[in-house]
């Protein structure tokens, strides 16, 4: 404090000069149009430059947040795109027998291993057990039971269910299940060691379980672990569907489903 006082004392004349000059200039700027406009132009340019710089820094600091938002939007758009592609497939498939019903999820997965979800509608519009359920064009589950106006859905997040899937569109078929631990990780089962599964590969429905048409997106391989001496590899899959955010679902059914089910039963032929 004493040093500050000494510093002020030492530069008192300069400070007084600056103060009086400031007063004079402020009077000048108030009363001289040319000086005022020039002053505002210059200070405006400086403040604009400072504001621009500040904005750049602010944008830079919020980049991670914006990236996350953009990633979310991208994911939503991608889901819509997949849904639109599936719309085309469904239209084509409808000619061969696939029908689609829209519905709404009433109760979604709660993270417990054996919980069933609840959706509308039910039998009143033709929802039957065994129908596949999609969310934004991706596999969500299948109808386990159907009441008059509601249906119970067996989702991919059920520890007791397995789903026939394919690694890539032309890869080997495997079973997809959930170990009941985390909502964003499914497990591929019985994948032989020789299968070329890599992180980032897509998992699609195979169509073999008669609940979904083939090539419906299910998930993306998150990690692949190969243990020495083991015949099978551990493949962890991140589901395409965000099970905590699903609101609208679609029920799909093959028109000749009963015929397919009957013909798919084991025959008595030797």
């Amino acid at each position: 404090m004493r040093n500050l006082w000494l510093l002020l004392q030492r530069n008192a004349f300069l400070l007084a000069f600056i103060a009086l000059m400031s007063v004079s200039l402020s009077v000048l700027f108030r009363n001289n149009g040319a000086a005022r406009s020039s002053w505002f132009q210059r200070t405006g340019a400086i403040s604009s430059a400072i504001e621009q710089q500040r904005s750049q820094w602010s944008n830079y600091l919020h980049l991670a947040e914006q990236n996350a938002t953009l990633a979310g939007e991208n994911a939503a758009l991608r889901s819509q795109l997949l849904s639109m592609e599936m719309d085309n497939v469904w239209k084509e498939d409808t000619l061969r027998g696939w029908t689609v019903l829209s519905g709404e999820l009433v109760k979604g997965p709660d993270g417990k291993p054996h919980t069933l979800s609840l959706a509308t509608p039910g039998q009143d519009v033709g929802v039957q057990p065994g129908m596949g359920v999609l969310s934004s064009g991706a596999a969500f589950g299948s109808v386990e039971e159907s009441g008059e106006t509601h249906s119970r859905i067996l989702t991919l997040l059920h520890a007791g269910a397995t789903w026939s899937c394919r690694i890539g569109r032309r890869g080997p078929v495997a079973s997809l299940g959930w170990d009941g631990v985390t909502l964003d990780r499914l497990q591929l089962k019985d994948v032989p060691r020789h299968v070329d599964a890599r992180q980032g590969d897509s998992i699609f429905t195979s169509g073999y379980d008669l609940r979904f048409p083939p090539d419906v997106p299910m998930g993306i391989i998150a990690s692949v672990e190969r243990h020495s001496g083991a015949d099978f590899i551990d493949v962890s899959v991140r589901p395409v569907v965000d099970f905590r955010a699903v609101r609208h679902v679609e029920f799909i059914e093959h028109r000749s489903d009963s015929e397919r089910v009957v013909l798919a039963q084991p025959s008595d032929l030797p």
């Binding site: 004349f13 007084a16 009077v27 000086a35």
Partner: protein
């Protein structure tokens, strides 16, 4: 005394000497500088600064040029201590020295008046013209006006503080 002298010169300049400009923009004298430049060199810098500021304020009020003379006066008031120091005789100022002909001599007074008038007129030119592209055209009139102000102040000095009057009084 200094304040009275400055106020008197401000009034004189505003009422009578305002239009004494024989060659238009080339000779626009600032008569009030004569009063300001009578500030003794031994005075403190704050006194000189305040005198300059006060003179500018008075001129602005009297002439309606709000801010222009305040800036120029403050600049000259701030520069006066430096000018006095730069122009100081080798042995320094006597306690009784005043910036007049009989104390400091014609050479010193001419140089001091011209340097001060130049500072004032150039600053006034800056704040009046304001834009860079107008400075070139205003520079020469500012210098000639400074010369005219110097000449006018010398005439006033000779009329009010001439060595002959001192001898007569003795």
């Amino acid at each position: 005394m200094m304040a009275i002298r400055i106020i008197l010169m401000v009034v004189l300049q505003a009422l009578f000497l305002r239009d004494v400009s024989p060659f238009g923009i080339w000779t626009r004298p600032e008569w009030t500088l004569w009063a300001l430049l009578l500030v003794p060199p031994q005075s403190g810098p704050f006194y000189k600064l305040l005198c300059g500021f006060g003179m500018g304020l008075g001129l602005d009020i009297a002439l309606g040029t709000y801010g222009q003379h305040m800036v120029a006066g403050t600049m000259l008031g701030g520069a006066l201590p430096t000018l006095h120091r730069l122009l100081a005789p080798r042995e320094g100022y006597e306690v009784t020295d005043r910036p007049v002909l009989r104390d400091m001599g014609a050479g010193w007074l001419l140089g001091f008046l011209f340097a001060s008038a130049l500072v004032y007129h150039l600053t006034l030119m800056l704040v009046v013209e304001w834009y860079w592209h107008l400075f070139a055209g205003a520079l020469l009139p500012a210098i000639t006006s400074a010369c005219f102000t110097t000449a006018g102040c010398m005439v006033l000095h000779m009329a009010v503080y001439s060595p002959e009057r001192r001898k007569a009084s003795l």
